[in-house]
Symmetry: C2
Subunit: 450 residues, 2 copies
């Protein structure tokens, strides 16, 4: 019987396997979060909310129907950190790591698996890549934790507390988990620019995409003076930067006479910059985002919908999808057939992929918004839109309605977080079944468009 | 000097010419609406609202910042009917008609012009086509006017009044103008199924697309028994039908325990069916749509965004664009490279076009919603979304905020109505400048998507 199941798993396509593995990770996390000693005395939560936390942590989203600091023990918080690492590093990478540790050779099948998870196209060096991923992520987290723990000693009575808060904040920021054990995200540090800068750096390092970090490392350690960044790195980094900057400017301008009224320019700037970063998928806040005006909340929703870089801890349609859509539009209007950017041509299949991802993302989010509006008549439209895009972009910010939602709505959000983490391309290939080429052709016929 | 201007116009591309002609039509309509005798005594309106009415009528949208029946004289109403015809039949077709009347031969340039307006790809038979368009439209309008005028005699004191109301309702429905001279759209006929059925038929005939009507005529007059409907006709008609049906079902289900509570099933059905039809671009209402629940209003907004068939009096991204996007997604998920439907293959260039139209439409409507939300803090998000999609889809329904909008918002709506009527493909080619093929190629490089 086990052999049968194993054979069935082996016959799955990589994209389908990814989904299976994520399911297993969620099941494991759910089990861990139900262990005795995880909940504070008398604070046991129901099964749905445990599942919700498990999905949210594996997908490093950060939406929760419960208050973490009031629900979990220190042991529970350590379990949560472990789940965030599972999600952040990627189950495939971690799996590879364990394989390496126990000395097994990585076969082509496992390589393909990892490849699909991080959407890499180059088969060679995948193993090296995964080790790099884990090394880099742990290094970033360790530095972040060290800096924050030392800094936090001034706020906490014991070293133990300072270290717990420092490590948790570092992991939560770097994995873009967005969870907090302060009970109110980073609002206690709303005027502490040092903490905010550290957190912003950690969030960006997690959300910018691992290939970018690896190329950056290659560039820094390169001595020949000739180093070419890949088209992907250029495209995703510049898009990431433009969205981050544009978001900061928009939030600043839209709230300067509203929420930021009477503030110093640097206060207003930091609030804008921090929450623009958070939409990249960080999910932490330094103020109650429900006090922003509706247009600002809508801008943030759109930014969360776009999300972070591919092969990062973030979700959404991803920066490259958005960039290719915009570049396609510009080139199409100019009557050009190819998208040329940075002296390179975008491959046609990638244009197709971006189209499929955008259409599917639109259908999924619109259907979710519609359904949740019907299910939650007490909540306003922007509250629902914000919640849905936050789940899909695995950002985890909320206008405060998560705990009041019906079970059906919670399942919708879990589905969106799952999809957001797995990525729409993997999801599409998963539901798509067998890749068959058409064996016959029909005559082509034009139709009238737009 | 005139020769210079004429030469400049001649050097324009067809898509650019279309835009120029629409501008002229709006200017002419604006001038006509400022003629003495158009306004009732003491009911003169400001220039912005006249311009708004002109754009709304030329684009057969039906949004107005003023109450038509309380503002315009009978002469004004006749002027309005003339402008609706200008918009409905299409300025290009009308231009061709006049050329024919004065006996001039139609050159290739003029043919191309008409071709772009109705996005036809077959050059031959364009002149015949235009005559067909006008004949069919006038015939439909005449029959509708006759039926309605006779029926209306029971409600009005004089034959004159009944005829005026019958003719106006018929033109407003067939051109999908959506204007009314009752002061409250079709609400007076909310329980009159006869009037509603006639209006629904007229709206659908206008919005289904002229190529469909012409092929239908060909099919009906065909005696050989062998008649093949084009891929376009099949695709647009089936999509139109599915959206109409789905909209009816959704409105029915979503309002049955809300707005339709306590109503007979046939009443609820007719309200659902009528307002689903209206989103295709008809724009008339039999009840105050602001009394629907928010989810229903959002569904209607999405339906208006999709809009009617190409080469019809409707707007939006058009049915074929939507259909190709969905078909593309399904085929992509199945790993197929070509879209096969009705034993035909969709041309690649049409897939590209649909992508460009959807991205541009998303950017335009989202930017409009954002800006109007900032400009109109007194109005709710759904009111703004409904207004924007109604303008873009040239539907003309409103949750009642049009007259309270700022001048800036009115200009945004005018822009959207204009784009909605011209069509995004024409608009893209207009702003795109010269169609140049790339003279050199860069190496292709893959990037990671979604
Ligand atoms: K997050
Ligand atoms: K209309």
């Amino acid at each position: 019987m086990w052999r049968n199941i194993l054979n069935k798993i082996r016959s799955l396509k990589p994209a389908q396997m990814i989904v299976v593995y994520y399911f297993i990770a969620i099941a494991l996390s759910f089990f861990l979060l139900r262990l005795p000693g995880v909940h504070q005395d008398g604070k046991a939560i129901n099964l749905i909310d445990s599942l919700f936390t498990a999905v949210s942590a594996v997908s490093v989203t950060g939406l929760t129907a419960i208050n973490v600091s009031e629900t979990y023990t220190t042991f529970g918080i350590i379990v949560l950190m472990f789940i965030l690492q599972l999600g952040g590093i990627g189950i495939m990478s971690l799996g590879t790591f364990f394989w390496l540790i126990v000395g097994k050779r990585i076969g082509l099948r496992e390589r393909q698996l990892i490849m699909t998870d991080h959407n890499q196209y180059n088969l060679s060096g995948v193993v090296k890549l995964i080790i790099e991923i884990i090394k880099i992520l742990l290094l970033i987290e360790a530095i972040g934790a060290l800096v924050l723990a030392i800094y936090f000693t001034q706020f906490y009575d014991t070293w133990g507390e300072a270290v717990l808060h420092g490590v948790f904040a570092s992991i939560s920021a770097t994995t873009n988990g967005g969870f907090d054990i302060t009970g109110e995200s980073l609002i206690p540090y709303a005027n502490d620019y040092f903490v905010q800068v550290i957190i912003i750096i950690l969030i960006i390092l997690g959300a910018i995409g691992f290939p970018v970090l690896i190329e950056l490392k290659g560039f820094l350690s390169n001595k020949s003076g000739v180093f070419r960044f890949s088209l992907f790195t250029k495209l995703t980094t510049i898009t990431f930067g433009i969205i981050l900057l544009l978001g900061t400017i928009l939030i600043f301008l839209m709230e300067i006479n509203h929420r930021f009224q009477g503030m110093d320019w640097h206060e207003a700037f930091f609030y804008s910059f921090f929450h623009s970063t958070s939409t990249r998928s960080g999910g932490m806040v330094t103020l109650d985002v429900s006090t922003f005006s509706e247009p600002t909340q809508l801008v943030m929703s759109m930014m969360m919908f776009i999300g972070a870089s591919p092969s990062s801890v973030g979700g959404g349609i991803r920066t490259t999808t958005f960039a290719i859509a915009v570049l396609f539009l510009i080139n199409f209007a100019r009557g050009r057939e190819q998208i040329q950017v940075f002296n390179r041509e975008i491959h046609l299949i990638d244009v197709y992929r971006s189209y499929a991802v955008i259409i599917l993302a639109m259908i999924l989010t619109m259907a979710s918004i519609m359904t949740m509006m019907i299910l939650e008549p007490r909540h306003s439209m922007i509250e629902v839109i914000f919640e849905v895009t936050s789940a899909f972009g695995t950002a985890g910010m909320s206008l405060g309605i998560t705990s009041e939602l019906s079970t059906a709505s919670k399942f919708i959000l879990m589905f969106l977080m799952f999809i957001g983490r797995v990525g729409l391309i993997s999801f599409l290939f998963m539901i798509g079944g067998n890749n068959k080429k058409a064996k016959y052709h029909y005559p082509k016929e034009r139709v009238i468009i737009g």
